[in-house]
Amino acid sequence: MTSYAYVPAKLVKHVRKPNSPVAVLVYKALTTRFFPSLPGHFCMLWVPGYEAIPLSIAYQEGAHYYFIVKKRGPTTTKLVEDPPRYVGLIGPAGSPIPAPSSGGKILLLGGGVGIAPLIYFATTIASYVESVTLVYGVRSSNELVELDQIFNVNRFKNVELIIVVEEVCERAVFKGTLIDYITVKIGDRLEEYDRVYASGPQTFLCKLYEVFNRAGLLDRLVLVLETYVRCGLGFCGKCTIPGTSKLLCRDGPALSAQLLKNWFAKICV
């Protein structure tokens, strides 16, 4: 049983590298009736004077909601460059990412701001799984969010953060795309991971589906999808996940790849 709420919130942190298209924002609820979230939940973040847009909750600590935003159009540009002192949060939207039922080795693959829900997810499952490998891929170094510093992901001994950048970058462990990383660095060892979760650009998710399909491992893969989201509350029907009868804002954004056969056929091929 969801219990949606509207939460007025105040900017308490804004982290952005010079000229970066990406920023981390922390907003604090201004009411004690703020909503709790689980990893995978997103919210409609209303920028007064602009619109309300879907943003993954990258972390929540009490009344503090963390977001990672990338410039795309007017609302995200405003958020990245000059985040408003006050916003409104409508949520929690969507369903939690299905957690691994038992221990095991978990691989998380986040491309760009797609990393957001996986950060929250990593910190939540770390306590009971064997290991979490969090691979974070970006195009260029100025898009890189310092996950260690901001989200303190290194506080967990069993969480390994691997940074993958397409351009040359000293912070990176690997130069290339996430798919390159999987091909080169993991290769046949995909099977070693009990569950794999991926979030990022659609082309990346499509390729990953192919890789897992070929390897016969679709049952281990969960994809965090994006669709156009309008109401975020499950009534407008805009966010239907192609090839399925699921609403992203209610049943998603994370779905098992096994359910995405028709999605793959419609979207990726």
Binding site: M1, Y6, W46, E51, P84, V87, R230, T240, L247
Partner: protein, 302 residues
């Protein structure tokens, strides 16, 4: 014990349908409703032309009262989309009611005719949208405007015409005009014009500023509207407004409704809530010794 009932001549396996605007825009929406177990489906309100709707947010939850404020702006795919939707939804084999929000009698007729051609079971004329100028509450507040539109639509199609009204000063009069002009049933009520302001942003939150209040907050208002119209006119009524539980549904039926629609409860609890409501109603009837829904229609009205 079954919960069969008919309203406006439409046979229903039980009295619960979705309210217009909640999951009635696409084939997939209807599929979701069908899977959940609704007895009939009501489409989003259609206009002749495709409409994009208002800027976001189009809805703001008001959780303290299990309510919602919305201003979607009658977003819909227009006539073409309607034909497609109806054609594709035949496979569900359940009544489908097309909601229409025209801005002129001609537009209402045009859409109603397409609805009939493509197999709609009935049309529901939305004469009560609280936040779209020229398509709603102004019409529904005027007995003569209601008479004109309902009259011309009723004489243009053979499927039942249902008229959806909202909170207006002369509700009984308007209801009476609709019935005289040929309406087979009334749907009562639409959401109530309202607003929420974020005091930190110092702005109305909805993209359209003003919207319609729905959910638990308006339930007692809906009960009163149904009661009053039923007492005076005894028409077929579909009750809507804040039905969140089987008790709420029974309350509307005892006030005079033959069927109910649920909107905001689908948002808060998911479409599956329909089962709980239907099961609860069944249990209640059994426990209280009633033999059908019919027996309790208007049971509290005197």
């Amino acid at each position: 014990m079954n919960l069969n009932i008919d309203v406006a001549g439409i046979k229903l396996e039980h009295p619960v349908m979705n309210a217009s605007g909640i999951l009635g825009s696409t084939y997939n929406d209807i599929a979701v409703l069908a899977r959940a177990g609704f007895a009939a489906f009501v489409t989003k309100s259609f206009t002749r032309e495709k409409r994009e709707g208002y800027g976001t947010p189009i809805a703001v939850p008001i959780s303290e009262t299990l309510s919602l404020l919305n201003a979607v702006g009658l977003e819909n795919p227009g006539l073409e989309g309607l034909a497609e939707l109806l054609d594709s939804c035949k496979i569900f084999g359940k009544p489908i009611i097309v909601s229409i929000a025209g801005s002129s009698p001609e537009e209402f007729v045009e859409i109603a005719v397409v609805a009939e051609e493509h197999g709609a079971t009935a049309v529901e004329l939305n004469l009560s949208c609280p936040h779209v100028r020229g398509r709603g509450l102004e019409i529904g507040a005027s007995p003569s405007a209601v008479r004109e539109i309902v009259g011309i639509v009723s004489s243009s199609i053979n499927i039942p015409v249902i008229v959806k009204l909202g909170l207006v000063d002369r509700l009984v009069e308007v209801a009476s005009a609709a019935l005289e002009a040929g309406a087979r049933a009334l749907t009562l009520i639409n959401s109530v014009k309202a607003m929420k302001i974020d005091i930190y942003a110092a702005k109305p939150i909805l993209g359209n500023r003003v919207g319609g209040l729905s959910g638990k907050a308006i339930h007692p208002i809906a009960v009163r509207a149904v009661y009053e119209v039923y007492r005076e006119l005894k028409p077929d009524i579909i009750g809507v407004g804040g039905v969140f539980s089987w008790e709420d549904a029974i309350e509307l039926i005892m006030a005079g409704a033959r069927a109910v629609q649920i909107g905001t409860a689908i948002i808060y609890y998911g479409p599956e809530i329909v089962r709980e409501i239907v099961e609860g109603m069944k249990r209640f009837l059994e426990q209280q010794g009633f033999r059908s829904i019919e027996e309790i229609v208007g049971y509290a009205v005197s």
